[in-house]
Amino acid sequence: MTRASSHPAALAALALAAALGAGPWPASAADPLPRGEPTWLGPTAPPRPTRVVSLAPSLTDTVVALGMADRLVGVTRYDTAPEVTSLPRVGGFLDPSPEAVLGLRPDLVLWLADGGAFPAVRRIAELGVPVLALPVVGVPDVLRAARRVGAALGNPAAGERLAAEMEGAVRAAEERASSLPRRRVLLVIGRDPLVVAGPGSYPDALLRIAGGVNVVKGERPWPVYSLERAVADDPDLVVDAAVNEPADTIVRLAAIPAVKAGRVARLPDDRVLRPGPQLPAALEQLQQALKAVR
């Protein structure tokens, strides 16, 4: 959605805002976040960047999956891939330190577009570092990110291969799904408070492909859900994706009939929450979970 640049009213508004001397404030809504298509911030990147900073673990995964881990010079403190354990950390996904990023003299920064980090990342771009902003929400975004990151790193063929591989996994999962019964699922992301994956979230998209039906309706991708509502939804299966919380604390949700009856599938890791090349493995995990429950 890069309508802003073509919309005359938006242009007029921007001009007016500029005339008021009102640049974007730290929390200003006047400059919308990049959404939809990946966009470049700052100058153009060299054709084959060699000093790459990744500001999200899923983008690090993408670079690693493209076989170009050696181009990375900095990652977030949440990165756990064995290929990057020795690399300097530049802060978190929500709080990157521009100073630490600039200190690594990167020629490309990969950013999973997000509101919290926007002021810091915009400043990095303004100071002359090419930033590729990748809004990744759904499965098509993951495929697009693989292609765009491959192209940005100077190897579009590798990006295309990775995307095709994931596309193949999606199709295979869809085929397998057609032979599975359609289970009604509640995807638990956090327990206290109860946070679930709602429509529009990445796990919801994966669940759809895997052949499950999300019991959560509404417009919020990550709603704080009412336990009462979860009980009334009466899912066939609860998928426990709260991997950072102890497995046995799921008993707190025992009011949900599926939990009480032991129809809970605990995921082994956070793959369904990492929109990246872990996509095929995440789909497999979900289908295992759907199959495990009669």
Binding site: R3, L20, A22, W25, A27, A30, L102
Partner: protein, 339 residues
Amino acid sequence: MTRRRVLLALGAGLLALLASVAAALLLGPQPVSLQAALAGVEPDHAILLGLRLPRVILGALVGAALAAAGVALQALLRNPLAEPFVLGVSGGAALGGTAALAAAAAAGPASLVGAVVGSGASVALGASIGAAASTALVFALGRIGGKLVPEAALLVGVVFNAFAAGVITVVKVLVPPEEAARLLYWLMGAVGYADPGTLVTGAVFVAVAVAVLVAASAQLNLLSLGDDEASSLGVDVGRSRGIVFLAASLATGAAVALAGLVGFVGLIVPHLLRRVFGPDHRILLPASVLFGAAFLVLADAAARMAFLPLGSEPPVGALTALLGGPLFLWLLRRTERSG
């Protein structure tokens, strides 16, 4: 005599500000060389002039505004515990700014209304209106039997803060998630990375507010004696109080619009200065402007340095609360004993 002491205080303040600016420019998780930066060598040049300098300016603006507002509110309330954050004035400003941002998000950031309402000046204006409204509320409800009771006013402020936090939480649920993330980041009280346009707009707001407060500093001396005493000395109490009240609201509104909720600066700085320079507002107010700026610049540099051990930068508001919370309690105990 006073003139000499004012000049002395201003000189000391200026020195403190210069020293803290120099320290903040040279301190950070990334070692940089001043020589290399001035010669245009990257990344030193970009880090020093592109990252640290605008942050230092932003920190100085916010610190000056909050410290000046603190002195003004303390004079109006005749209590050293008064402070924009504690009194709920910052909370009101946050609410006003949030309302402007939510309205912009509702109108759509790409629409004309959205762009105008979401512009920096509107957010600052919304924050100032929110600050003024909450100050009015605190001063109106802090009266018992027609007399302003500082403790009651402080309590009203604390309760209003909790109320504002509740409303902001609800607004956060209503706006789109990515806007909520930005809102949260803003309210955390971090001195972040503002562009030159923002710094200029912020500087204008703060300069106007601070100039009015400095000009009114002699009247603050009289107002702090009490309403009856002040009016018997020829002060138009209602008018003077109104002007100070609006200027303090404007200063707080601008500070909150620029950096979110940074607490206790208006408590810590005036308290220390009162111990050195005494209670005369003609000295205290301008000195607070300079020392407030110096204090927040230094505190923000410390927050930036915390990246090294923590791997993340805490917002400077966390640091000021760490210092200010205990100081507030200590002051509370002391006023209790002396009263």
